[in-house]
Symmetry: C2
C-alpha cells in the first residue's frame, strides 16, 4: 500500500501532541490504517525550536501545501481567515483535511462544506467539538440510523469551570475568573469563552451534522455568563437546580431551534452533574432516545487523540456520513422571541412601596404568568433581591416585560434572566 504523506499546520500545543502520537504510536496506527509518513509541520516562526518536533520537519505553509507527497492536511493552527485559505487550497487540490478548528467550520460553514462536497478529498473534524469525546463519531456513525431530535451541550470548559467555582465558593464571577486564570483554566482574554461565542461555534458544528446542512454560528442566539451572580447560583442550589451554559439545538420536521445561553437544569439530570472543566453533550436520536457523553473537552492529548482518530479514518479512505448537504427543504429557524421556556428573573431593587406592584404589572401587561415570587424581609429603603419565576412563556414578551422593568427608578442593577431547560 502506498505510504500517505501527512502535513500538519500548527506547531502549538495540539500540533505537537499530534506529532508526538503519530511518531510514538506509528506501528499500531500503521497496522490499523496502513503506512503513512509525517512530511512536515508548518510553523509561524521557523527559527524557534519546538518541543517534540524535529527542526528538519518544520516548514512553511506554502512549502507544505506545495509538497507533492502531501495527501492529508491536519490544520490545528487556529484563526479563521488564514486557515480558510489553507484548507481551501488543500481541498481544491484534492487533499483530505482534518481540522480541530470550530471557528473555521462555524463561521465559514457554507463554504467549507461546499468545498469538501465539490472535491475528492474528505473533511474530518472530531476534535472541533468537546475535545477527546468522540461526539462527531457518535452523531455520524453510532446514531447513523437516527434522526437527531435534540442536542444540549456543556461545550466550553472555561465556562463550566467558572460556574463550578462560583457554586463551590460562593464567590463573584470576577473572582472566579481571576482564580481560573491563575489555575490555567481561563485564557488571559476569555471573551470568546464567556460570551458564549465558542459554544456557538461548537453548536453550529453539531447542528450541521444533525441537520445534514451547514449551519453558521452567526445564525445562533448567543448569551454569555458574565452577568451570573453568586446569588443566582445559591438560589439554584436551594431550589434543586444547577446553572450551566448550554448550547441547545432542537430539530423537528421543518423547524430548528438553536441557542446558547445560561440555563437552570434540575439536579436530577445527569447533565447538571458535569462539573469543573469537563464537557458533556446530551444527544437525542429519535430511535436511540437521549444519550449523554462526557469527558475532557480540551487539553493537548485528548484533543490530539481526537485528531489522530480522524487521521486514521482518513487513511482508511472513510468519510463522514452526515457532513454534506442533503437535498431537502431548509427548515425554518425559530426566532429566539418565539422560543418558549420557564424563566428565572433576579432583580436588585430598592425596597420601597409599589415595587412588587410595578413588576407584577409589567409582567401582566406582557401576559406573563408568574409561577413564584420571593423577596426577603429587609430594612425599608435598602437594596434587596426580588426573584420571580414564570410559567412557560415565549422569549419576546418576557424580554418586553424586562425592558419595561428596566426603566423603573427602583432598579439597582441589570436584571439577571436565566431560562430553565427541561
Amino acid at each position: 500500500m502506498k505510504t500517505r504523506g501527512i502535513g500538519v499546520i500548527g506547531g502549538g500545543v495540539v500540533g505537537s501532541g499530534v506529532v508526538k502520537i503519530l511518531r510514538e504510536r506509528a506501528p499500531a496506527l500503521t497496522r490499523a490504517a496502513g503506512p503513512f509518513e509525517l512530511i512536515g509541520v508548518a510553523v509561524r516562526d521557523l527559527g524557534r525550536p519546538r518541543e517534540g518536533i524535529a527542526p528538519e520537519l518544520c516548514t512553511s505553509v506554502d512549502a507544505l501545501l506545495a509538497d507533492p507527497r502531501l495527501d492529508l492536511l491536519v490544520e490545528v493552527a487556529g484563526g479563521v481567515d488564514a486557515p480558510f485559505q489553507w484548507v481551501s487550497r488543500a481541498l481544491e487540490a484534492g487533499k483530505t483535511v482534518v481540522t480541530a478548528n470550530k471557528a473555521l467550520l462555524a463561521e465559514r460553514a457554507e463554504a467549507m462544506f461546499a468545498l469538501a462536497q465539490a472535491h475528492p478529498g474528505k473533511l474530518f473534524f472530531e476534535a472541533a467539538v468537546a475535545g477527546g469525546i468522540p461526539i462527531i463519531a457518535a452523531l455520524d456513525r453510532g446514531l447513523a440510523a437516527n434522526r437527531v431530535v435534540a442536542v444540549q451541550g456543556i461545550l466550553n470548559g472555561t465556562c463550566n469551570d467558572l460556574l463550578s467555582r462560583m457554586e463551590r465558593t460562593g464567590c463573584t464571577f470576577e473572582a472566579a475568573l481571576a482564580a481560573a486564570q491563575a489555575a490555567g483554566f481561563a485564557e488571559a482574554d476569555p471573551t470568546l469563552d464567556i460570551s458564549g461565542g465558542d459554544t456557538a461555534h461548537k453548536l453550529a458544528v453539531l447542528a450541521t451534522l444533525a441537520l445534514e446542512r451547514p449551519i453558521n454560528s452567526a445564525q445562533i442566539f448567543t448569551e454569555g455568563i458574565a452577568g451570573i451572580t453568586a446569588f443566582d447560583l445559591a438560589w439554584a442550589e436551594q431550589h434543586g437546580y444547577r446553572i450551566k451554559l448550554l448550547g441547545i439545538g432542537r430539530f423537528s420536521e421543518g423547524h430548528v431551534e438553536l441557542r446558547v445561553h445560561p440555563t437552570l437544569i434540575a439536579r436530577t439530570r445527569l447533565l447538571s452533574q458535569v462539573m469543573d472543566e469537563l464537557n458533556a453533550v446530551q444527544v437525542e436520536g429519535d430511535l436511540s432516545g437521549p444519550q449523554l457523553y462526557s469527558g475532557r473537552g480540551a487539553g493537548q492529548l485528548p484533543t490530539a487523540s481526537a485528531v489522530v482518530s480522524d487521521v486514521l479514518q482518513a487513511l482508511r479512505g472513510e468519510s463522514l456520513l452526515r457532513a454534506r448537504p442533503v437535498p431537502r427543504e431548509p427548515p425554518r429557524q425559530v426566532p429566539m422571541g418565539e422560543v418558549v421556556s420557564r424563566h428565572y428573573v433576579h432583580l436588585e431593587v430598592i425596597d420601597q412601596p409599589g415595587v412588587v406592584a410595578a413588576v407584577a404589572r409589567a409582567l401582566a401587561d406582557s401576559k406573563i404568568s408568574i409561577a413564584s415570587m420571593f423577596q426577603p424581609d429587609v430594612a425599608h429603603g435598602s437594596q434587596v433581591p426580588l426573584v420571580f419565576t414564570t410559567h412557560p412563556a415565549p422569549d419576546a414578551p418576557v424580554q418586553a416585560a424586562l425592558d419595561a422593568i428596566e426603566k423603573q427608578s427602583f432598579l439597582a442593577g441589570a436584571p439577571v434572566r436565566i431560562r430553565f431547560e427541561q
Copy 2:
C-alpha cells in the same frame, strides 16, 4: 453500485425493529451507504404472522443462508449454539455478519474472532453492548489512537432498575424484583441478569476491543446482586455512596483485571448518578482521559438503531479496527484473590459477648486493617447488623476472614460483602 442483499435471523422484538428501520428509512440509508435489499427474515415458526414483517419475507435459516443474494447477515435471534452455527456458516461463506448477541461473542470469543479474521466478511456488534449507546464505535474509532486503560460499566438495565427501586422505596430485593417484573423491566426468569452473567458477557466484548484479543466471559470473576439488602442501600446513602453492579476492566502493560460484582461508588461520580434501567460505560483512554457514555441499554428501537448503524458501516465496506488479534504477548490475568479494594461487610449477628472480638480477631488473623466499624445499640440477645469497612486489601485474605466469620455461631445470615470502586 450493486444492490447488497441483507438477511435477518430473528423475527422478535429487535428483528422486527431492524426490518422496520430498513424499510421506513431506506432512502436515507441508501444515500448514506448505497443500495440494499432485505431478502428475508428467518423466523422459528413460519406459520405465525409477525407485526411489521411481510409474510413473503419470512423464511427459514437454511433457505436464507443458501440464498445467493445474501451479502450481509443480521443475527438477532439470541442463544449461543445455534447462532454460532449460523454465523460460522455465513462467515465461512464470505458473508459479513452483524450481531447483537453478546452471549455468542462472549462465550465463543476465540472462535468468533478467529472466523472473522480468517474470512473476507466482517463482523460487527455495536448492539451487543449497552443497546443504543455507540460504545463500540467510541472504543473502536473515537479512541482509536488510545490505549484503553479501564472500563467500568453499568451494563445491565434490569440490575440497575432493581437497585434503583430498592434505594427509592427501601424495599427488599425480592419485592423490587416482583415490581420490576410487573413493570416489564425484568424477565420472568431473571437469572442471567441478576447473577451478573449478562454483565460479564458485555464486559467480555468490551475487553476484547480494549485488549485487541478475544476474551471469553468464563475468564471473568462474576458476582450478582441477589444478596444486597435494603440495609446496605441505606448505609450507602448515608455515607455518600451508591451501590451499582459494575463490569470492571483494568488494562495495563502486561496485566488485565476483569470482574463483575456489586460496588460502592461515591455519589460525586457521574457513574453513580445513572439510575433506573439506564446503562452507562466509563472508558478511560490513556490520551483522552476518562469519558462517560450513558443512555438506554435495551429496547426495540435503541437496539435496532445500533444494529442498523452496523449495517451501514458494513454496506460502506468498513470494518472494526480493534476486533482482531494483535500479535503480542498475552497479558497476565490478575486472579480475583489479588485484586485490591476497600471492602464493606455487613453481618447480621446475635448480640452477645465476644461478637466484636471474634470478628476483629478473624480480620486481624488475615491481616485486614479495619477502617470503620458500627453496631447499633439493641436489646441484648437480639439480631443486629454489624458493619465494618476495611482499608485497601486483596480479595483473598478478606474472603478467608469472611469464611472464618461464617463458621461462628452468632451469625444470623450470610455476610454481605461489597467492594468499593474508586
